[in-house]
Symmetry: C2
Subunit: 64 residues, 2 copies
DNA sequence: ACAAAATGTAAAAAATACTTGACAAAATGC
DNA sequence: GCATTTTGTCAAGTATTTTTTACATTTTGT
């Protein structure tokens, strides 16, 4: 399932997938896949994403 | 670094590592390693752990 | 002290996250 | 309309999580 909260938080920072990827030290494809929601990233990556987007884990990755 | 919040939440439920492992559908060693903090579990495992312990991601895995 | 349960740890194999390179489609700005 | 950026996707390879088996140590209860 798509992670629209992540997409929205990224949009709020006017950040491309590639920019976010660089900050998180992963490939653009990985960010794309996480946002598309078709897999299961590690917690360290999730934390890096949240820090980059000024959000917490609950705000981006917790169930709702 | 040890995850003492996880250890404490597990203790509060009087649950062994093995019981928690069963609920999360992973091995006891995996739970032990996560609690010991020497690696980087997937977000799905973190979510399963949090649900089993009645906690959220921020409570157990977010930086403090 | 003793038995049983719980935890720590290690090594090899299996599963899967992530990378790299590449190309097409869609969106954005001029 | 055109060029540029951004996003979507695929396939093959690498890195790391997780499993399995096994044994040692520590803790708990009686």
């Amino acid at each position: 399932m798509k992670n629209l909260r992540m997409k929205s938080a990224r949009a709020a920072k006017d950040m491309s997938q590639e920019e976010l990827a660089k900050i998180c030290n992963v490939s653009r494809q990985t960010i794309n896949a996480v946002e598309k929601g078709d897999y299961n990233p590690t917690i360290n990556l999730c934390i890096a994403i949240c820090k980059a987007l000024d959000k917490t884990l609950d705000e981006i990755f917790w169930i709702q």
